[in-house]
C-alpha cells in the first residue's frame, strides 16, 4: 500500500528524490528535481506542488501563561479547536479557538502557570503544526490533517520514481514549492525562473465542488474556477491521459499563478473530502492515478 508522505513542511528537502533526479536545483521559492529526458521533445515541462502546510504562529504570550497564535493558510477553525499542536522545538499545546471564519482567534494552552513559565517554552514567531499521523479507513481511504498538501507531494515523489526508471521525452522540472500557504505565491516565480513552456500544478479539490469529483474516481483536471481558465491543449492532454474534467464555480488554484506569467498551464487535483479540516480524507488510488497521468504527459 502507498505510504502518504506527511513529514513535510516549508523546509522540505529533496533527499527522498535527490538520488532519482538528474539534478537538484534550490531556489528561494523551493526545490526542483530536474529530469533531462531523452531530448525527443524541446518542451520544458514544469510539474509543481507546494509542500508547506497550514500552521499556527505564536504572536504573543499572555499574562496567564497561554499564548496567542495566528493561522497561516486555510483551515476550518472549527475543526482544529481543542486539538493538540506541536512546535518545531518539541513543545506541545492545546489549541483553543474562539469565533469562526475570518474572525476566529487562536490561543495555545501550554500548561504553563504564568507568563514567565510560558516564555521559557515559546517565543513570538514559533511555529505550531497539527499532528500528521495518517489513520486508515475502509478500503484505500485514509484520513489526516493536511492531506490536501501531503497527497500531491506524494504523487510527485511517485512521479519522480517513475521518471527515474523510464526517462521522459522532454525536460521535466518537478518543483516542490515552499510558498503555497501565502496565496500560492511561489508558483509564478518557479514558472519564470525555470523558463517553463508548459506547467501542470498539482493540488487538491473538495469532493463537493463538482458532480464528477469523487473519492476514488481519479485525479481531476480543473477546466476553470473563479479566477482560472485552463490552457485547453494542456487540459485536453490530461483528460486524454485519464483525468476527470471538472468545472468549478469557486476557489482559485496555483495554475492561475503560472498562467499569469505567460506559461500555458493546467491544474490537476486530487479529490479530498472535508478539505481544509482536521479530518481530510483521500483515496490512495487517486494519488497513484495522478502520478500515472502526469507520467503520460511527460512521455
Amino acid at each position: 500500500m502507498l505510504n502518504v508522505i506527511t513529514n513535510i513542511n516549508s523546509n522540505f528537502d529533496l533527499s527522498i528524490v535527490s538520488s532519482l533526479a538528474d539534478k537538484i536545483l534550490n531556489f528561494p521559492f523551493g526545490s526542483v528535481a530536474v529530469f533531462n529526458g531523452s531530448g525527443e521533445s524541446d518542451r520544458n515541462l514544469l510539474i509543481a506542488t507546494h509542500t508547506d502546510k497550514p500552521h499556527f504562529v505564536c504572536t504573543s504570550v499572555n499574562g496567564n501563561g497561554t499564548a496567542k497564535a495566528s493561522l497561516i493558510g486555510e483551515m476550518d477553525s472549527r475543526s482544529c479547536a481543542n486539538t493538540l499542536v506541536y512546535s518545531d522545538t518539541g513543545v506541545s499545546a492545546v489549541l483553543y479557538v474562539t469565533g469562526d471564519g475570518e474572525s476566529a482567534s487562536y490561543e495555545l494552552d501550554l500548561g504553563a502557570k504564568d507568563k514567565e513559565e510560558a516564555e521559557k517554552l515559546v517565543k513570538t514567531g514559533d511555529v505550531f503544526r497539527c499532528e500528521t499521523a495518517v489513520k486508515h479507513l475502509c478500503a484505500d481511504k485514509v484520513t489526516a490533517p493536511h492531506l490536501s498538501v501531503s497527497a500531491p507531494v506524494t504523487a510527485l515523489v511517485k512521479l519522480c520514481k517513475i521518471l527515474h526508471e523510464a526517462p521522459p521525452s522532454c525536460k521535466v522540472y518537478v518543483a516542490f514549492i515552499t510558498e503555497g500557504q501565502h496565496a500560492l505565491s511561489g508558483y509564478a516565480p518557479a514558472a519564470s525562473a525555470l523558463d517553463a513552456s508548459q506547467a501542470i500544478c498539482v493540488g487538491a479539490v473538495d469532493v463537493t465542488s463538482a458532480p464528477d469529483v469523487k473519492l476514488g474516481s481519479g485525479a481531476v483536471v480543473r477546466l476553470s474556477d473563479r479566477r482560472f481558465g485552463s490552457d485547453k491543449p494542456t487540459s485536453d492532454s490530461l483528460v486524454d491521459a485519464g483525468a476527470v474534467p471538472a468545472v468549478l464555480t469557486k476557489g482559485t488554484c496555483a495554475a492561475a499563478n503560472t498562467q499569469s506569467v505567460g506559461v500555458p498551464s493546467a491544474q490537476l487535483d486530487i479529490p479530498v473530502k472535508n478539505i481544509n479540516t482536521h479530518t481530510e480524507i483521500i483515496d490512495l488510488n487517486d494519488i497513484c492515478k495522478a502520478a500515472d497521468i502526469l507520467y503520460s504527459i511527460c512521455k
Partner: protein, 344 residues
C-alpha cells in the same frame, strides 16, 4: 476617425476568456494587412512591433485585452440543458433570457439562458445564482447535449452590434469594453506603420488573453517584452445613475484606490489634446475589477504604467453601450501624444 466596421468585426467575434483564438485570428489578419509582423505566445497573447524610424530611444507598449465575459459548461441535466459556470461573469441578474453562443464540439451553437420562471419560483424576488440558471441549446436528452457541447465548452453572449442616437453617436454590443480598446490599438497600428508617422522609439502592441479572469493577462507580455513604459487601453464603468451623455471623452486616471499611475506620462497624455476635447481625469470606481487586477500585476512587475480608459455603460453584459466619440478621442489622444511622449 476609427473604422466602425473593424469594431463591429471585433465586437461580434466570440472569444470568451481562455478561448480567444477567433480574436487572435482577426487581430493577426488585420496586422498582416498593415504589413506588421506579429507573434503569438504559447499563452495566446499577440504581440507586434513597429520599429523606431532610426536609432530607438526606448520601448513603449500599448496593451489591450482580447477576451470577453462568458461561461463554461459545467454539467448536463437529464432534460438536455447545460449547467454553467462563469468565466468573468459576475452579475446574474441580467442573464435570464439572454441569447448565447456556445462554442460546441463541432460548431457554434445558438442557445439561450433560462431559469425557473418567477411565478414558479419559491422566491421570485431572489437574484438567481448560477445553480438556478441553465443554457438551452435545443437538445432533448443529456446524451444529445453532451455530444454537442461537452463539459468544458465555453460560451458567450450573442448580441447584435448596433448604433443608435443622433447620427449613430452611440454603440451597443456585447464585449465593447475590451474590443473598443483593441480597435484603438489597431487604428494606431495603421497610423504609426506609415513611414511619415514612424516614432523615435519601438512601439509594441500587446493583445492579452484572459483579462476577465483576474489573475491573468498583460503582465506576462510585459515580463517578456520588458518595455520602458506601458499604456493600458481599457475601460471603466459609467455609474448607473449617470448618463452616457456626460461621458463622451476618455479618462486618464492619475491615481486609483490601490495604485498611482506614472504622473509624468499621464500628465503628458492629459495635455496632448488641449482643452478642445474633453478628457476626464478622474479616479474611476474604487472597486477592483478584472482590469484593475491586471494593472496591479503590471505595477508589481515594475512597469511604468499609465492607462487610457474608455467609458462604457453596462460593462460585462450583453448590452454594453458607449459613445463613438470616445473611441475617436482615444485614437486622437494617442496619435497626438505619442510622437512627443517622453517616458525614459
Amino acid at each position: 476617425m476609427f473604422d466602425l466596421d473593424l469594431l463591429r468585426t471585433l465586437a461580434t467575434t466570440d472569444a470568451p476568456s481562455g478561448f480567444e483564438s477567433a480574436m487572435r485570428d482577426v487581430i493577426t489578419t488585420q496586422l498582416n494587412k498593415l504589413g506588421i509582423r506579429s507573434s503569438v505566445s504559447p499563452d495566446g497573447s499577440v504581440a507586434a512591433v513597429i520599429p523606431a524610424k532610426c536609432a530607438s530611444k526606448g520601448k513603449l507598449m500599448l496593451q489591450a485585452h482580447t477576451d470577453e465575459v462568458g461561461f463554461m459548461v459545467r454539467s448536463h441535466t437529464d432534460d438536455g440543458f447545460l449547467k454553467i459556470s462563469p468565466l468573468g461573469l459576475r452579475d446574474t441578474r441580467l442573464l435570464t433570457g439572454r441569447r448565447v453562443t456556445v462554442l460546441g464540439k463541432d460548431e457554434n451553437l445558438n442557445g439561450f439562458i433560462g431559469a425557473i420562471p418567477v411565478h414558479l419560483s419559491k422566491d421570485g424576488k431572489k437574484v438567481p445564482s448560477y445553480s438556478d440558471l441553465y443554457v438551452d441549446i435545443g437538445a432533448d436528452t443529456k446524451a444529445e447535449a453532451e455530444a454537442a457541447a461537452p463539459l468544458g465548452c465555453a460560451g458567450c453572449f450573442k448580441s447584435d452590434f448596433e448604433t443608435f442616437g443622433t447620427d449613430g453617436a452611440f454603440i451597443k454590443s456585447k464585449a465593447l469594453s475590451g474590443r473598443a480598446a483593441c480597435a484603438v490599438l489597431l487604428t494606431l497600428a495603421e497610423h504609426f506603420s506609415s513611414e511619415e508617422n514612424a516614432l523615435p522609439y519601438d512601439l509594441y502592441f500587446a493583445f492579452s488573453p484572459r483579462g476577465k479572469l483576474s489573475l491573468s493577462g498583460g503582465a506576462a507580455l510585459y515580463t517578456r517584452l520588458r518595455p520602458d513604459c506601458v499604456i493600458s487601453v481599457t475601460s471603466f464603468e459609467i455609474p448607473s445613475d449617470e448618463s452616457i451623455f456626460s461621458h463622451r471623452g476618455v479618462s486618464v486616471p492619475l491615481f486609483e484606490e490601490k495604485y498611482t499611475f506614472d504622473l509624468s506620462v499621464a500628465g503628458q497624455l492629459k495635455d496632448a489634446l488641449g482643452s478642445s476635447v474633453k478628457i476626464e481625469v478622474t479616479a474611476p470606481t474604487p472597486s477592483a475589477d478584472e482590469c484593475e487586477f491586471d494593472i496591479i500585476r503590471l505595477k508589481s512587475a515594475g512597469a511604468k504604467l499609465c492607462a487610457v480608459k474608455l467609458p462604457v455603460k453596462n460593462r460585462n453584459t450583453a448590452c454594453e453601450v458607449m459613445c463613438r466619440d470616445s473611441v475617436d478621442t482615444a485614437c486622437d489622444l494617442l496619435k497626438n501624444a505619442l510622437p512627443q511622449l517622453s517616458f525614459m
